[in-house]
């Protein structure tokens, strides 16, 4: 284990590579992971992701899993959610976390920035109406603070209210006392987060080579799978 994989030269990989920008090796590794998570089936379901042990102590686990099943993230102008996803859709969602290449122009970086911020926006805008309302934002902050101890909803509410006020102040500037700020639109969202350089922050490293860690996981997952199906573990 750990030796170079022989590249599966399937034509689908070429398509996927063009569509998402991953290299063949990266697609191969992610495909292995996909098969591992979905227990060698062709589609992935929510329960498969729910069982990942690393995610169990993540406060925003539900939102992350939902993001994988959100049609808005599949770049096909769809809406709503699905119950299961194929490998292609899995890869498209993963491609949101690729870093920009070294030689990109400013416009290309801007496009990538919008894409990543759009992903974040979709995660917050759960009812799919194009704005993040105060309720949705409160829910986001509550989830963030949910694992951090019993501090009650009041503080979360206070923080969310202050954040919303800030967005409104920066985006709208001046409002009459009886006007109502409906919610954060995508443009306002872009404006408020333009300083955190999301294209350099929202990236993870995708491996080009197989690692022993994956192998360990495969063994343990396989054991679990086999045991669940009542078969003997093959030593």
């Amino acid at each position: 284990m750990g030796a170079l994989q022989s590249l599966p030269d399937e034509p689908e990989y070429r398509d996927l590579s063009e569509k998402t920008g991953f290299s063949f090796e990266q697609i191969g590794i992610l495909h292995k992971r996909f098969k591992q998570l979905s227990h060698n089936e062709d589609t992935l379901r929510r329960d498969d992701l729910n069982t990942i042990p690393d995610l169990s102590c993540n406060p925003i686990r539900t939102q992350i899993i939902e993001a994988f099943f959100d049609k808005r993230n599949f770049h096909q102008n769809g809406e709503g959610t699905v119950q299961e996803i194929s490998f292609e859709e899995f890869l498209v969602v993963m491609s949101h976390f690729r870093p920009p290449a070294l030689d990109m122009t400013e416009e290309q970086r801007e496009i990538i920035r919008r894409e990543k911020l759009r992903f974040l926006f979709n995660m917050h805008d759960t009812d799919n109406d194009g704005t993040i309302t105060l309720e949705e934002y409160r829910h986001v902050v509550e989830e963030l603070l949910s694992r951090s101890g019993a501090l009650g909803k009041e503080t979360a509410k206070g923080i969310a209210d202050a954040a919303m006020l800030e967005v409104a102040s920066i985006s709208m500037g001046h409002m009459e006392p009886d006007e109502f700020y409906e919610g954060i639109t995508f443009e306002h969202f872009l404006k408020i987060l333009k300083d955190i350089e999301i294209e350099t922050r929202m990236n993870i490293r995708f491996l080009n080579m197989d690692t022993t860690n994956l192998c360990k996981k495969i063994n343990s997952q396989q054991d679990h799978y086999l045991q669940v199906n009542g078969e003997q573990k093959i030593a």
């Binding site: 995610l55 923080i159 006020l165 408020i192 987060l193 993870i204």
Partner: protein, 663 residues
């Protein structure tokens, strides 16, 4: 354009007068003659003298020797600070020339003046430098080190610090040795080890110089942390190489075992320094848990523990700088959760003050020492040294970046590389190390001269030109960021999101380990080091409370609401409409009717005041509707007051102010 024809001629004249007085003040004590009468200590022995030769009782006497040392120290510091003051009064000078250059020039002038008077100008004593002047600067840098960019780039920084410095030292030492072999230079007495020693002294990027110059150009965070982190972490390499070559050049030969021991020594020095610093950091954090009743001395704990960490590691010949940095970094999150706001401000300002004074003194002394020090000038050697410095730095940065970029997610662009290479300034540490060389080195004076020339070159030429070059190349500048609660929320959100996606991907990356460390920190470490119940508080809430506190303080100080954003938006605009809104006109109408009714009622009541029971008999319907109206009116007034109160509270909470969050 004469810079002296400014708007405050009187002020300038005053400053010149003060400066002249200070100079005279330096000259006077040096030539002061011995005092006539001692003050306290030797009164007994003089009594007999006095009875023998009766003189008039001394009303006024000069006794300089008694106060000589503190007087001179205070005078030097005062001079340094007055110079600093003076620079900022001259309008265009501070924008063009970095402060460090000006201070060195002042040092040169003062040194020249002292020499003219005929006295020996004081040289920058290495012990004074390493034990008194350097620690405040490093502590200031380490305590306020921006942790997030540092940990994200720590791999790159270590590669530059360790491998880059090694490359510089060997490249320069080797080529200088080759140069010395050439007959025409006349330096054939210099052997390889001496050259390598010289290379190791002059190859390290200096944190003081980097801080002094980079602070004024406000470059983007990534490049700043790369150069600055490198200048801090290369101390271990410098210490090891210096001690190694010093030992070897005494002995004369090098074996493989020595090289191997040298490598082991490097790990011991760096990791040992970090360990010592971390231990003292935890001690300081633990101590701060109990200081709730003695808030006044809290800052002292921070300073003393850090200084002890530095001294302890210097005692064992470990890297003092790394110990200081480790101490500051480890101690900060826990100490800040425990100490009062005033103590935090005190620590911040004392550190800034001391590091500022130290930096000023270092540069002035550098100038004075240049005038004082023994010099041996050799054109070829010195010029080659300067050129080799530049060349090796550029080659090192380019080569290392090529390798590093294969492992980085966010690659370093050519502009970044240029600034990293150009910002590799040398400074007072190199000079002090050179000064420490024992006199038995025949080339000591030559080396000192070369080191001073390199320092001057990097500080003057590179320091002065880096600002226009940054403008010319349009390098990304630091974003002036106000603490924004949205950014804070999303930073934390991103952390969790990326950890989760890494979990889905199945490999243990940067975020996975960071999450593990955070959880360990929260469950075990914070429990011991943070006072009271605060340890359960997540960072977002701590941030939010700090922001509220700051705004409240600002409001109290300025007497009005802080309004950075000129907007009239308040909570009313955001809250969903649960309360049925009444238009202003209707509200006025209702108020008028109620007021009128109230008047009527008062009149009626006055006429029926003798019997309570008859109050509600007649005009029952009127009264019922009247009561209802009154109830409605009270209800409305209550609602309006509740909303107003909420508005004022939220306005205070929700506005962001412009004061820098964490320095």
């Amino acid at each position: 354009m004469p810079a002296f024809s400014c708007a405050f001629p009187g002020c300038r004249r005053d400053l010149l007068v003060i400066v002249l007085v200070v100079f005279v003040g330096i000259g006077l004590p040096i030539e002061a003659s011995a005092p006539a009468y001692q003050s306290h200590g030797t009164e007994g022995s003089h009594l007999t003298n006095i009875t023998n030769t009766k003189k008039a009782f001394p009303v006024l006497a000069v006794n300089y020797e008694h106060v000589r040392k503190p007087f001179e120290i205070a005078l030097w510091i005062l001079l340094a600070l007055l110079m600093k003051l003076g620079f900022h009064l001259i309008p265009r000078l501070s924008a063009v020339v970095p402060e460090s250059c000006l201070l060195i020039v002042v040092g040169l002038l003062v040194g020249g003046l002292i020499k003219v008077i005929g006295e020996e100008p004081p040289v920058l004593d290495s012990q004074l430098f390493f034990l008194c002047l350097l620690p405040p600067i490093i502590l200031d840098a380490g305590y306020f080190l921006p942790i997030r960019p540092f940990t994200e780039n720590v791999g790159t920084i270590l590669v530059f610090a360790v491998i880059g410095t090694l490359w510089n030292a060997f490249f320069m030492g080797g080529l200088l040795y080759a140069l010395c072999q050439i007959e025409s230079v006349g330096l054939s007495g210099v052997d390889l080890l001496a050259c390598l020693l010289f290379g190791s002294i002059v190859s390290a990027v200096d944190p003081v110089a980097v801080l002094a110059v980079f602070e004024e150009i406000h470059i983007n965070e990534l490049v700043h942390i790369l150069v600055f982190g490198e200048s801090l972490l290369n101390d271990a390499v410098t210490v090891v190489l210096y001690n190694l070559f010093e030992e070897f050049s005494k002995v004369g030969t090098v074996t493989v075992l020595d090289v191997f021991l040298g490598v082991v020594c490097f790990f011991v020095v760096s990791l040992g320094g970090v360990l010592v610093g971390a231990i003292y950091g935890f001690l300081a954090a633990f101590t701060s848990r109990f200081t709730s009743h003695t808030r006044v001395i809290e800052p002292l704990f921070v300073f003393l523990y850090s200084y002890m960490a530095y001294l302890s590691s210097e005692m064992f010949h470990l890297s003092g700088i790394m110990a200081l940095i480790a101490c500051g970094v480890v101690m900060r999150p826990y100490v800040e959760a425990n100490i009062s706001h005033k103590s935090y401000t005190t620590i911040k300002y004392f550190l800034k003050m001391w590091s500022s004074v130290s930096e000023t003194l270092i540069f002035i002394f550098l100038g004075v020492s240049t005038v004082a020090g023994p010099h041996a000038w050799n054109w070829t050697f010195v010029i080659t040294t300067v050129i080799l410095c530049l060349v090796s730095r550029v080659l090192g940065v380019i080569g290392l970046t090529f390798i590093i970029n294969k492992f980085r997610i966010v690659k370093l662009t050519k502009k970044d590389q240029f600034i990293v290479a150009y910002g590799g300034l040398r400074g007072a540490i190199a000079f002090s190390l050179g000064y420490l060389l024992s006199n038995s080195h025949q080339m000591r004076n030559l080396f000192l001269t070369a080191i001073i020339t390199v320092i001057f070159f990097t500080v003057f030429v590179q320091g002065m030109t880096i600002r226009p070059l940054v403008e010319l190349l349009a390098v990304k500048k630091k974003k002036e960021s106000k603490p924004s609660i949205n950014e804070e929320i999303h930073t934390e959100f991103l952390d969790h999101l990326l950890t989760g996606v890494e979990g889905v991907c199945g490999h243990y990356g940067h975020y996975h380990w960071k999450e593990k460390l955070n959880r360990f920190n929260k469950t075990y470490v914070k429990r011991w080091l943070i006072a009271g119940e605060n340890f359960k508080e997540p960072e977002l809430i701590a941030f939010y409370r700090k922001m509220e506190l700051k705004q409240a303080i600002m409001m109290v100080e300025s007497g009005q609401l802080p309004s950075v954003l000129p907007s009239t938006i308040s909570m009313q605009n955001i809250q969903p409409r649960a309360i049925p809104r009444v238009s202003k006109k209707r509200e006025e109408e209702i108020r008028r009717i109620l007021r009128a009714n109230l008047q009527n009622n008062k009149q009626k009541m006055r006429s029926r005041s003798y019997s309570r029971h008859t109050l509600f008999d007649a005009d029952e319907e009127d009264n019922v509707s009247e009561v209802r109206l009154r109830k409605t009116k009270m209800e409305m007034e209550r609602r309006v007051s509740v909303m107003e109160r909420r508005v004022s509270v939220m306005e205070r909470e929700g506005r962001c102010d412009g004061e820098g969050g964490s320095v």
